[in-house]
């Protein structure tokens, strides 16, 4: 099984994130880069599929040179090799362009299954799985919290607002995962040491067959028009219990769709 897992390096949510004033892109140098949280679950799922069905796990990352930190960590967790799509021409690409660039890179790696997070913590568009499967012309299973592979069939459970759907498709397919799907492993020291020796292929635009006129900030289909700092956190809502405290809290939680 040729399993490709998409890994995005994002700024650590624990350090402050800022947009640059000159071009409205994220100031990626200002924060520590980490693996997008949901992508750790994607990696874990890829490793589990490999452990159960054999095959190889390839990490695919599009991002600046610094993203090698995240690639190495994914390899330390147990992935076999990596492809790093890195080119100044890609900087500032929007979701549409990112999906195109990743599609081109997938043309080089091939795949039976592409696993990715259901959304990133920085841009949070949550559209990549859909865009990618459309471009690739393969089925998409999004928001999966359970995946089972049986020959060329893939069965999954996807979370919805009202419960979950059971869906089934044939491979090759694109699957995006949520955090309930598994518990990502911590890399072992042996894994960390082994990661050093695993192959990482670096691809520029030309290597991946990406048309420079279709990527990068200048060619983006969307544009960030304005931005402002997030407002300071408002004071919490205090519920005074006059015998109906429980009901009020339940009401509040329901209004936020927590229950």
């Amino acid at each position: 099984m040729n399993i490709v897992v998409l890994v995005k390096q994002v700024p650590d949510t624990e350090s402050p994130r800022k947009l640059k004033s000159d071009d409205s892109t994220l100031d990626r140098a200002a924060a520590d880069g980490v693996i997008n949280e949901l992508d750790e679950y994607a990696i874990e799922e890829a490793l589990k599929i490999k452990e159960a069905h054999g095959g190889e796990v390839t990490v695919l990352t599009m991002g600046p040179a610094k993203a090698t930190d995240s690639i190495r960590k994914a390899l330390a967790m147990g992935a076999d090799k990596a492809v790093h799509l890195v080119d100044d021409g890609l900087a500032g690409s929007d979701a549409l362009q990112t999906s195109y660039a990743i599609q081109q890179a997938l043309g080089r790696t091939g795949f039976d299954i592409v696993i990715l997070g259901s959304e990133s913590t920085d841009a949070r568009t949550g559209v990549l799985a859909a865009m990618l499967s459309e471009r690739l012309g393969v089925p998409q299973i999004t928001l999966a919290n359970k995946v089972e592979i049986d020959g060329s069939a893939i069965k999954a459970q996807r979370v919805t607002d009202y419960g979950y759907d059971r869906v089934e498709a044939t491979l090759p397919a694109v699957v995006s995962v949520v955090e309930k799907i598994n518990e990502p492993r911590y890399p072992s020291f042996k894994g960390i040491m082994a990661a050093k020796k695993k192959p990482v292929e670096t691809l520029g635009l030309g290597d991946a067959g990406i048309d420079a006129a279709q990527v990068g900030l200048a060619n983006a289909a969307t544009e960030v028009v304005d931005f402002a700092d997030a407002p300071a956190r408002a004071q919490g809502q205090i519920v005074t219990d006059e015998g109906d405290g429980g009901a009020k809290i339940a009401e509040f939680l329901a209004s936020k769709k927590f229950v």
Binding site: R72, K73, A76, R185, Y186, P187, S188, F189, K190, G191, I192, M193, K196
Partner: protein, 382 residues
């Protein structure tokens, strides 16, 4: 020659354990500590991560790392909790290490895979009711060869990891003849080997420490570790190394005090401002950071000599002395910074305060460290 920067791989290990401690240990350890419960789930998770195999070769299930890698992991764990850190320290450096260093091929093949994976723990039975500092002097335990069986009689005090559900065996230091000391593996469950109930301890409350007694305990002759009569040299080697590990653990506690204070002094207000604005508080924290930093340099230096195959006895003693002092001093200062809350068990610094004291005692008291340093300087024994 002068380079104290971690390699990329060491830094990755450090960060992985830091994250594990924060995500997996911190949320549950307070309760376990309060109830005096051994952290089985945490130990299992550490096993999965390979922490029990850090300094051992891959052929026995180890991670192919070294003693310094173990120290880095201990420091990061102890920043959050010392019961967990000492469980790892004793499991690796006192439990599995004697088998790795001195054991026969059969002993290694039989025991190391389950020890390096963290599925089982081994304990180090040296200290006795009659004394821990003066081991031959205070030691009464004997092992007599009867045909092809050792017959062990005696008792041991304060033995870490000796009575958990996953303890495999204790290596017992015993007289095997007149002035002859040897080390013998005694599996838990052997008839005549009684594991006492847990001590009620001032600190390290989630770790397992017990008194052991041996009454005509019979184990096969091949349970001898290494050569007969080498027991003294063996435990000295294990303790010399172990001091670097205890120093790393102490640095972790000292740094944990700084971490906790940095958070707290920005939140807590007194006389109209954050207490972190008062110089008296800032200086305390600056002193705490200074102690943690210098103690870290001391254990890095001792570990560097160990890895280079150079003599490290004096450096290890210095590291342990400096680091345990740093831990005690920082714990006292950190609880002071926390005011009344520092005296509450639910705050990590309260736990640190209770956990710090033993660092000046275990694996050689501070007096013993000073004795070792004085001897290394050529001063005569008493």
């Amino acid at each position: 020659m002068i380079d104290f920067t971690l390699t990329t791989e060491q830094e990755e290990l450090r960060r992985t354990v830091e994250r594990f401690a924060r995500e997996t240990v911190a949320p549950v350890i307070g309760d376990l500590y309060e109830r005096g419960e051994f952290p089985y789930d945490i130990v299992a998770a550490m096993g999965k991560m390979g922490l029990f195999g850090l300094p051992f070769p891959e052929e026995h299930g180890g991670m192919g790392g070294d003693y310094f890698a173990l120290c880095l992991a201990l420091e990061e764990l102890a920043r959050v909790d010392s019961s967990v850190a000492i469980t790892l320290e004793a499991g690796v450096s006192l439990g599995a290490m004697p088998i790795h260093r001195f054991g026969s091929d059969e002993q290694k093949a039989r025991w190391l895979p389950v020890l390096t994976s963290g599925e089982r723990l081994a304990a180090f039975g040296l200290t006795e009711p009659g004394g821990g500092s003066d081991v031959p002097g205070g030691m009464r335990t004997t092992a007599r060869l009867d045909g092809d069986m050792w017959v062990v009689n005696g008792s041991k005090s304060f033995i870490t990891n000796s009575g958990t559900d996953i303890t495999a065996f204790v290596t017992v230091t015993a007289f095997t003849g007149d002035g002859e000391i040897s080390t013998i593996i005694v599996p838990n469950g052997t008839p005549g080997f009684t594991v006492g109930k847990k001590y009620s301890k001032v600190g390290w409350s989630a770790s397992d420490t017990r008194e052991l007694s041996f009454e005509d305990v019979r184990v096969p002759a091949e349970n001898l570790v290494g050569e007969r009569g080498r027991g003294y040299a063996q435990f000295l080697r294990i303790l010399d190394e172990g001091r670097i590990a205890i120093a790393a653990l102490s640095v972790g506690l000292a740094q944990g005090c700084v971490d906790e204070c940095l958070r707290y002094v920005r939140e807590r207000e007194a006389f109209g401002r954050e207490i972190g604005r008062y110089q008296a508080i800032q200086f305390k924290i600056a002193d705490m950071e200074t102690r943690a930093h210098t103690a870290r340099l001391a254990y890095y230096a001792a570990a560097a000599r160990l890895l280079a195959g150079e003599p490290f006895k004096k450096e290890a003693a210095i590291a342990k002395l400096v680091a345990s002092n740093a831990a005690m001093d920082n714990a006292r200062d950190a609880t002071q910074v926390f005011g009344g809350y520092g005296f509450m068990n639910e705050y990590a610094v309260g736990r640190f305060y209770r956990d710090a004291k033993i660092l000046e005692v275990g694996e050689g008291t501070s007096e013993v460290q000073r004795m070792l340093i004085a001897r290394a300087l050529g001063l005569p024994p008493a």
